[in-house]
Structure formats: C-alpha cells, structure tokens
C-alpha cells in the first residue's frame, strides 16, 4: 500500500461515524494502549487493534476502516471502556462504525444471520427464539419445573414491540439490509503493514 496522503484523511469522518453523539470525547484519547493491552480479541487476532482504530477515526482515514474484517471482531467485553483513562466508550463507537460499514454494503454477512432472530422477536417479543425443535425442548424443560410452558409475553406487548420497530423506521432499515449486495471485506490493518513502495 502506498504512503497515505491528505486526500485519504476526511476530517468529518469522526462525526459521520458518531452519528448518534454517543462518544463525544474521542479526541481525549491519549493513545496509551490500555485498551488494546486488555482486549481479548487483540490477544488472538493481531491485526485487530482498538487504539489504532481510534487513531484512524480521528485522522479521518478512509482507506481501511469501513471495508475491514477487523471491526467485526469486537465482542463488547468493555475491558477497554473499564480501563480507559479518559472513559471513551469504545464499544458504542464500534457499534456506530459498523452502521457506517453496513450502509456501504460491508459486513452484511455478520449481521443478516442475527437479524433473522430480530424479525422473529417482532413476532414473539423475545430474542433468540430457536426453531421448532428448540421450542419443544424449552417447553419440556419449563414443564419439568412446573412453570408455564412458554415464557409469558402478552400479545399486546408483542404488538407494541413490533410497531415500535416499524414506526422508528428500523424495520425498513433491516429489510433494506436483506436486499443489499454484499461487498468483500479484507484484513485491512494487516495488509496496511505490507508496503510495496
């Protein structure tokens, strides 16, 4: 990869990513590395580096964030947030970064299989309802405990849950994702280290 230049840096990238104003103190980052040192994902995949991702967001680097494989690895353990000396809520930042990536068509394969459960939640009021076999197993377990055979969620509650998704436009957003063409991801941060200039 050639040397990065000013055209590769978009100074509005931070605001574009933090579209919900949830991580307002990103510029306080001291690049101390406490986050990456504690990150369980970084301990397994060397190219995933929270500190480096923050650095890229602040510089506005548009060459590697959105189409990277790495940003899909964070699992919100919040070790980073817990030890950060300036309390940057990194997981909330990653959640929003992933929205930005999805809207460009990157990472759909990591969200669509999970959204199948979100659509089901709009019918049942519960997340991660399994298939028929799983449902039967659950009903058996519950009856052994002399509890109701299925967790009690009222029809009215499910109706309201579903309507809230529709009225906020979230259902349409999710349906749009189902139909988007998928673009390929790459291990951007690892590739970035191999220069041929």
């Amino acid at each position: 990869m050639p040397r990065e230049r000013e055209k590769d840096w978009d100074e509005n990238l931070y605001k574009k990513i933090d579209r919900y104003d949830l991580v307002q103190n990103l510029e306080q980052c001291l690049q101390c590395g406490k986050c990456t040192g504690n990150c369980p994902v970084a301990a397994i995949t060397p190219s995933y580096n929270p500190r480096a991702i923050i650095n890229d967001i602040l510089s506005g680097d548009i060459t590697r964030l959105l189409d990277s494989e790495e940003i899909w690895r964070c699992f919100w353990c919040a070790n980073c947030y817990r030890v950060c000396p300036v309390d940057i809520h990194y997981p909330l930042l990653m959640m929003q970064l992933r929205y930005a990536a999805l809207e460009e068509g990157y990472g759909l394969k990591y969200v669509q299989p999970i959204n199948k459960y979100a659509f089901r939640a709009m019918e049942k009021g519960l997340t991660f309802v399994p298939g028929q076999k799983g449902i039967e197993k659950i009903m058996k377990l519950r009856s052994q405990l002399q509890a109701t055979s299925w967790p009690e969620v009222s029809e009215q509650a499910i109706k309201e849950f579903c309507e809230i998704f529709e009225q906020t436009g979230a259902k349409a957003w999710m349906e749009n994702l189902e139909n988007m063409p998928e673009k390929p991801l790459r291990l951007s941060f690892l590739e970035g280290r191999i220069t041929d200039e």
Binding site: Y20, D21, L22, Q24, N25, P40, V41, I44, T45, W72, R73, F75, W76, C77, A78, N79, Y81, R82, V83, D87, H89, P91, M95, Y99, K109, V111, P113, I114, N115, Y117, A118, A121, G125, L126, T127, F128, V129, P130, I138, L141, R142, Q144, L145, A147, P151, E152, V153, S154, Q156, A157, I158, E160, F161, I164, F165, T168, G169, A170, W173, M174
Partner: protein, 322 residues
Amino acid sequence: MSNLHITTPQERIISAAQRIGEVPEKLFLFRSCTGSMEYPGTENSIKEVLKILEVEVVMDSDQTCCSGYILTCSGYPPEPSLAITARNLALVEQRYGLDTYMFCNGCFGYNTELSHILNHYPKYKEMANNIIAQYGYNYQGKTRIRHVQELYYLLIDKIREKVVRPLNGLRVGVHYGCHYLAQQYGILDEGDLPTFHEEIIEALGGTPVFYKERRMCCGYAVGRGFTHKESVVEPHLAKKFDSAKEEGVELITTCCPGCNVALDREQPALAKRGFGPYDIPVIDIAQLIGLALGVPIWKLGFNANTTPLDRVLNKLGLEKGE
C-alpha cells in the same frame, strides 16, 4: 464537551447498602429472554431464593425483550431500543413504583446504558416518550435499575444463616461476566479485582478459586458466538477454561444466562477441537445459592445444562431428583 456525566471512583464503587438502601420487600424482576428459554431453572431458582430471603417478586407479561443484544450487533439503529427501554421501564414505574431487578448482565447492561442515554440526552427521551405515549406510557427515569447479584450480597449474612446444604469446600470458580462490572454509574466492587461473589461462595461453604483468567469475557456478546465462533470465540474460551482447569475448579458460577450459554454449551465443541476436555459444569449463582439453601434440586432446573452436574451433585451427596 460530553453530555454524559463522567463519574469519579467515589461515585462508582459504592457499598451494597448505598446501591440498594433498605432491603426491598418487593421487587420487579425483569424477564430475560435467554434466562427464560435456555435456562428456565435460573429464573426459577431466583424466585425460590428470593422467597426464602423474604423478598416478593413481581413480573409482568407486558414486559418485552429489552432488544439490546441485537442492537449491539448493529442489527438495527438505536431508536427502537431506546423506545422499548423507555416503555419497559415506564411500565414498572407506572404500574408498580418498584426498583427493576435484572438477572442477566446483558439486560442489566443494555438497560443501564440505554436509560442513561435517555436521561442525559433530552432529544432521545423526547423521541422515546413521543412513541410510547400512544400506549399510555411515559418514562421519567424514576425506577432504579439493579441486578439481583447486588441483592444477594446485601443479604449475605441472611444467606449464610439459612444454609442447610453447605458446599463442603467445593472448588468454585466465579465468572462475573462483563456488563455489570463494566458500567460506570455505581457498582459494588472494583471491576478488575472484585471479590463479592467469592464472599458469597464462602458463605455457602464453598472454596472460591481465584483462577488467573476469571475476569475474562465469555465471548458471546454481539453475536460473536454465531459469526466468529471458530475463529475467535473458541480459542478465547479455551484460554479461560485452561486456567480454570489448572486450578482444579469443579464448578463455575455465572450471573448472566448469556454467559451461561457460552461457557456451558461450548464445552463439547471445544473438546472436539482438541481443547481440554474440561467437563466443568456452569450454573447461575442463584442456582448454587438455592442448592445450599435447601431448594429441591428438581426446581433448580439442571436438566437444561449441557455439561452435566452429576459429579458435583454426587460430591455433595445429592440426587438430581431431590
């Protein structure tokens, strides 16, 4: 400058008495999706334990899933989750006027973060209340969000008195999970060196084991158990289990059904890949407290567990059907 109030250490680490105040006579128990489906024994155990501790539990079928899990997967934008959180908490405020207790770190974490956003960003509170007004709800931020593990600690002396089946030194490794100790708005203990669960284990007659990776995440949030199981989550979990096995841990306790799914149900897959084998059963701390306090074993719901409890029960001289 940030809208979010950055807390000081004095505000963050506070005693159970400060977190909760007087022991509640009655509380609202927030239904957890995973807790009521994957491990119904957990929900049952909590109700049994709280009955013994003389705390009345109220649930409501109009409460829905918090929708926080898939939100964190970036499955949908935050607006519906903000409105749904406001709706559920307004329900508790308007119908019961009680504190809302979660028994899942996930529910707890999502509701705490989302309600914090609702209470500090007027634009989001307005948006949420506009939507839920059509159902007769209005969220005011009055109900306090707590986790039952805090209540167990507040009542630790009572628990100790009521033990009828002491654990005989059983080597128990605690898994605290991430979303309770990571939050910044007031927790019982220090996030990296907590000891309050270990104190409960001691009160039950068990031997708490400080295995090296006890503070390691279960890896199952943000859907990673689906999307990155072989590549990231399994090698990660193997490290945690290796460290527990090395210290001779016989049982792991959790306070989150999500963590329970990860730690309990991943063990066969790990064994197949050549990690371990571990054969360390994983149960909710409420189930362990229930066991020690004399709740009939069949009520604790160990049939839901993938990694069997037989060895532990045998060691304690108990039968599954008791």
